[in-house]
């Protein structure tokens, strides 16, 4: 249309929401947090946002709307899957759900007992989980690019 301003679709960069569980009781919960922050701050900086699960559940509209409009990856420390269940209830099914203990079992890695201070093995687990999340982010961004 002559004279019309074309609005670039690039104005809204495509991002992936990562929703970690809280996991205060277990080491896997702390591993979840560190892995998610590693993706956000280092591995896929600018392509991801973290969604604060308690804020999400407390009714924050911004967090809920983001999660309903953009793809999400939930990361749970254990098979109770609090993050995946809560996200699905409030904003729709997550694109991927990662359970840390399941993934580490497949890799033959055993975490320490402490959620307070991460051991060297726990830090190794953080790297493994972060790489897995980053891989899923790439898959989702690839799918978006293909659309």
């Amino acid at each position: 249309m002559p004279g019309a301003t074309e609005i670039s679709r690039d104005l809204k960069p495509f991002k992936i929401g990562i929703v970690p569980c809280n996991g205060e009781e277990i080491c896997a919960g702390s591993v979840t947090r560190f892995a998610c922050r590693k993706v956000l701050d280092e591995l896929r900086k600018g392509k991801t946002v973290t969604i604060c699960l308690p804020l999400f559940i407390a009714g924050d509209k911004g967090e809920q709307q983001f999660a309903s409009r953009f793809p999400t990856i939930t990361v749970d420390g254990c098979d109770k899957r609090c993050s995946a269940i809560s996200t699905e209830r409030l904003s729709g099914k997550p694109s991927y759900s990662i359970v840390v203990t399941d993934l580490l079992k497949d890799k033959g890695l055993t975490l320490s007992e402490s959620p307070r201070v991460l051991s060297e093995t726990d830090k190794q687990a953080v790297d493994i989980i972060a790489e897995e999340i980053a891989k899923k982010v790439d898959e989702l961004l690839g799918e978006a690019g293909d659309a």
Partner: protein
């Protein structure tokens, strides 16, 4: 103290104050008041885990929130449990403005010092509740 005392941090992941709330609770649990205080995953409240709900109903609950959104407090009260004491990390930060945490999760010395002050404040709250019982 007959009733269980449960302290629940928000563990927010966007700013250091969430991690400070978490580290303060760990210090309280492990170093200051072991065997007197426990915590539960906030996420388990969100999925209404029956074991956690029963524990909350029968115990004292203190929430520790990293910001004014009070997510831990709101999530506990959404289960129908009235919180016995709600504490904010910022209350301690205001008294020690010189202490700036380094990162969101890697708090650095200043951040861990803030967590320590917060743990001491929580310990005082535990003592008050124990006297009330």
């Amino acid at each position: 103290m007959d009733k269980e005392l449960i302290v629940i941090p928000c563990s927010g992941i966007g700013k250091p104050y969430g991690e400070i709330s978490r580290q303060a609770v760990y210090e309280l649990l492990e170093d200051i008041r072991p065997e007197q205080v426990e915590t539960v995953c906030l996420g388990r409240l969100m999925i209404r885990d029956p074991e956690v709900l029963e524990k909350l109903q029968n115990g004292f609950v203190i929430t520790v929130d990293g910001c004014a959104k009070d997510c831990a407090l709101k999530n506990v009260e959404a289960t129908g449990k009235k919180v016995d004491k709600a504490v904010r990390t910022l209350e301690v930060f205001k008294e020690h403005r010189d202490l700036k945490p380094e990162g969101v999760l890697n708090l650095g010395e200043a951040g861990y010092t803030l967590a320590h002050y917060l743990a001491e404040k929580l310990s005082g709250e535990v003592e008050c509740l124990a006297k009330e019982e």
